[in-house]
């Protein structure tokens, strides 16, 4: 397109016009090898015409032949540094070939925010990369590539902080806590428990450590140990809805439905509408005979969650509850919904 516009302003030979038109037709038809041949001829006939080189570069770019696209685009920009679109294309081609540092200036001029973010990330300018990627995400919130690079830049920034803590404050409680969290993520549960306990020795008031320990014990089925840790977290952070929920859930597993109800009601008061807490609360209420309250909570889960595992579980609970209450038709309906959800998930 650039070439066509510029040709209108230039004094050109019929032969040049013929090759330009042939190149454009081939490009439109997707016949890129022919388009390249024609635009090569154009560049040969009009070597001083910047647009000729840029269009050749554009076809190479479209063919993903970045090695040939780069010199053509460079030549075009030498002849006319203001050609629209050429900087962005050159920057993208350079980035694709791994020349991130050189790409940055062209991507800045070309206003390619997303690719600029990637190039900045590649050269280690993480904070600038974060800004550009966040800005790009506004217009493309569901782009997996963008989300991937955003994840990478966040991880890098987090790692920088972690490295700094390890280097400058190696024995600080928070550093030990970080190491414990890294061990948890790596699946080293025994190591994580040791580190978390060490962190607590250094600073018994650290938030989140008892919670993390409780979750490790829970994942190994050690309910009594998990209860102890969740309880400690609720005492330390009485406003933590998550800690209250976890304590309530583990009490339910320990068969103490009465105390489970209290903790789960507290979780619900702290953060109303947490579906996990509502489901656990309903189960605990069933165990204590509070069928009406349980029914309401299961229905709330279904209202809030659509087509999730929690909805499926709520349908199951309602089917059981209604059957116990003798409401066979309601039980059958919930059972059907439960089974439908299961079969859809299994597909």
């Amino acid at each position: 397109m650039i070439l066509v516009c510029l040709l209108l302003l230039a004094q050109v030979s019929p032969e040049l016009t013929q090759h330009v038109n042939a190149g454009l037709r081939a490009k439109q038809a997707g016949d890129l090898p022919t388009a390249i041949r024609e635009f090569l001829k154009v560049a040969e006939l009009a070597p001083a015409l910047a647009a000729a080189h840029v269009n050749l570069g554009a076809v190479y770019y479209e063919s993903r032949d970045y090695g040939h696209a780069i010199p053509a685009l460079r030549k075009g920009l030498e002849l006319n540094p203001e050609l629209p679109g050429a900087h962005g294309m050159l920057g993208a081609a350079l980035l694709a070939q791994g020349f991130a540092a050189e790409a940055i200036a062209h991507l800045e001029k070309g206003q390619s925010l997303d690719l600029l973010g990637v190039a900045l990330l590649e050269v280690g300018r993480d904070r600038e990369a974060l800004d550009r990627l966040e800005a790009s995400l506004q217009s493309r919130p569901n782009d997996p590539d963008l989300l991937y690079y955003l994840g990478r830049v966040h991880a890098r920034l987090a790692q920088q902080v972690t490295d700094r803590m390890a280097a400058e404050f190696p024995t600080a409680a928070r550093t030990v806590q970080l190491r414990a969290e890294a061990r948890t993520a790596a699946g080293d549960q025994a190591g994580a428990v040791r580190e978390f306990q060490a962190a607590l020795k250094l600073r018994p008031d650290l938030h989140g450590v008892h919670l993390a320990l409780g979750e490790i014990y829970l994942s190994a089925g050690d309910y009594p140990a998990a209860e102890k840790e969740f309880r400690a977290e609720t005492e330390l952070v009485p406003g933590s809805a998550v800690a209250a929920y976890q304590l309530g859930a583990v009490l339910l597993n320990l068969g103490d439905a009465g105390r489970a109800v209290k903790e789960l009601e507290r979780a619900e008061a702290l953060k109303p509408g947490m579906p996990e807490a509502l489901l656990a609360l309903g189960r605990a209420q069933v165990a204590t005979g509070a069928s009406g309250a349980a029914e309401k909570n299961f229905l709330r889960v279904i209202e809030q969650e659509r087509n999730s595992l929690l909805t499926e579980a709520a349908h199951f609970q309602l089917a059981q509850l209604y059957r116990q209450m003798g409401r066979t038709a309601d039980a059958d309906r919930q059972q059907t919904l439960f089974q439908k959800s299961r079969s859809q998930r299994q597909k």
Binding site: G221, A287, A313, Q320, R323
Partner: protein, 541 residues
């Protein structure tokens, strides 16, 4: 169990014994290919094959598997190391290997899994049905110390991969029928590798489900496959365990099937004609959070003495053994949480299971053969372990309390219960994958000087099947169902056992009333029955 002939070879724990002569070693042939069958055997049966009054032990072996397997597969069952074994109990309670003399050294080219026991021909001698990956085998007890392979004539080879099996009289015609669970549509020549970065045994969801098989005893030594006719084949499963009881009290035995990694099945017996799968409606298909679990072993017995049979299913670590209390009206309620069972078993993986009164206090206790299915589970979750000690939980009237049984960790699989030395205290045999079986006695639970009272009842049917399988025996508020099935791959003694604690009433009476409901429909009441003895009861003509 008394100590004659027994040694404390395993030492440390007074509960575990090493009876002299019981030298069986289970061969499971583990490979780097992780053929699923390697980790699933083997069964055990307690039966009095020669009717001398002492329980004998039959153990199912695995087989030889090359690494990798060479086709056509040969499990090497003709090699003595891979034989199933029958051990006859001697008068001093030691054991003698009588496998060859009993004619049990040969069998089909199958990888052995489980065993069922029942007197299918009503001749007074218990017969054996051995399951496996490959054809199953029915061995008729000839009453002279020997067995004859009658599989072909009986038409019960099944094929595929069979796991637990059990004899019961579903149509109450007086002849024992046979239910065979089948696990997966799996073949050793279509093995797939699972797990990264190391091989692990595949989860059951990698394979298609298959239908279980119900054989009706037609008499004359022949059975007929009635799986489709009765509706059993209408649902496919991944079955490992099976147990029978009459959960709704209609007089016909129902079937609970423990499925691995999918919903459990409860087949309601429609008056001996058909079966209807009703687990979801009955509340026993899932755990209480609506999740499936790896059902393996199952027992169907009354733990809370309300006269209704409850269900206990073993599964894998983090799933919690599933206990369902029978609430009447065809409904069950999940009670693993409220009984304390969930907290006690959340870290455990269970296979064979018993719900019996090991301490004679009148409440049924839980005994489980334990181990994870994956021998490398610790690499996957460092909080879990492969080998585990067996679990003993004392029933205390609706809740369970742990009893330190042993620290010895093992790969427990099958489990069968019976009073090996007839001393009034139940014993159990637990099989160990790739190892020697473990014999456990409840004797250390019995307080010295003031032993609790007990009664063991042995039934002989006349118009009912000769074993009396399917009869209910009630003493006070205790109810026992006569069956050899249940657990995992195993068959227990058919005699039923009751404990009464130290007193039977306000005056400490030493007599009880025994009420028997026979499968034939006859009701028999025996009054003033002295306790602390073995009671033989013949069905009235």
């Amino acid at each position: 169990m008394g100590l004659c002939g027994l040694g404390f070879g395993l030492a440390q724990s007074p509960f575990l014994m090493s009876p002299a002569g019981l030298d069986f070693v289970h061969r499971h042939s583990p490979t780097t290919q992780k053929y699923l069958v390697e980790t699933m055997g083997g069964g055990v049966a307690l039966l009095d094959y020669n009717q001398d009054g002492l329980l004998d032990i039959f153990l199912v072996n695995g087989g030889r598997i090359n690494d990798p397997v060479k086709l056509p597969v040969d499990f090497g069952r003709e090699v003595p190391a891979y034989w199933n074994r029958l051990y006859r109990q001697n008068a001093d309670h030691s054991f003698t290997d009588v496998t060859a003399a009993a004619g049990l050294s040969s069998g089909p080219n199958s990888y052995g899994m489980g065993v069922a026991v029942g007197d299918f021909d009503n001749d007074g001698f218990p017969d054996l049905y051995v399951t496996g990956y490959g054809p199953n085998a029915l061995y008729r007890n000839n009453g002279r110390g020997g067995f004859t392979d009658v599989t072909a004539a009986a038409g019960v080879a099944a094929g595929g991969w069979s796991a637990s099996a059990g004899f019961f009289d579903y149509d109450r015609d007086g002849s024992l029928d046979l239910f065979v669970t089948r696990y997966l549509d799996w073949s050793i020549d279509r093995n797939i590798l699972c797990g990264t970065p190391f091989n692990a045994y595949c989860r059951p969801d990698k394979f298609a489900p298959v239908a279980n098989v119900l054989y009706r005893n037609e008499g004359g030594g022949r059975f007929r496959d009635v799986s489709s006719l009765t509706g059993i084949a209408a649902v496919k499963g991944k079955a490992l365990g099976v147990a029978f009881n009459d959960y709704d009290g209609d007089g016909f035995p129902d079937i609970f099937v423990a499925n691995d990694g999918m919903e459990q099945y409860l087949f309601h017996n429609e008056r001996g004609q058909r079966f209807k799968e009703v687990a979801m409606e009955a509340g026993v298909a899932f755990s209480d959070d609506g999740r499936t679990y790896a059902g393996m072993g199952v027992v169907f017995a009354d733990y809370d003495r309300d006269g209704r049979p409850d269900v206990l299913v073993t599964n894998l670590a983090l799933e919690k053994y599933a206990l369902y209390r029978n609430e009447g009206g065809g409904r069950f309620r999940y009670t693993s949480l409220t009984t304390g069972l969930a907290a006690l078993t959340a870290r455990s993986s269970g296979w064979g299971v018993a719900l019996e009164d090991f301490d004679n206090d009148g409440w049924r206790d839980v005994l489980v053969a334990q181990s994870h299915v994956l021998d490398n589970v610790a690499k996957i979750n460092s909080g879990l372990r492969y080998l585990e000690p067996p679990l003993l939980l004392r029933g205390t009237g609706g809740r369970f309390q742990p009893v330190p049984l042993t620290d010895q960790a093992m790969a427990g699989r099958g489990l069968a219960v019976g009073d090996l030395d007839n001393d009034g205290v139940l014993d159990a045999v637990i099989t160990v994958l790739g190892g020697r079986p473990v014999v456990m006695t409840g004797a250390p639970l019995i307080p010295a000087g003031a032993p609790p009272n007990w009664l063991t009842v042995k039934l002989t049917g006349t118009s009912s099947n000769r074993d009396g399988l399917g009869a209910t025996v009630r003493v006070g508020d205790q109810m026992s169902y006569v069956t050899t099935a249940g657990s995992y791959l195993s068959a227990s003694d058919r005699r039923v056992h009751f404990g009464f604690g130290r007193g039977l009433g306000s005056k400490g009476e030493q007599e009880v009333t025994v009420e028997i409901n026979w499968p034939s429909g006859k009701k028999q009441i025996l009054e003033h029955v002295p306790v602390n003895r073995l009671l033989d009861v013949k069905e009235p003509q």
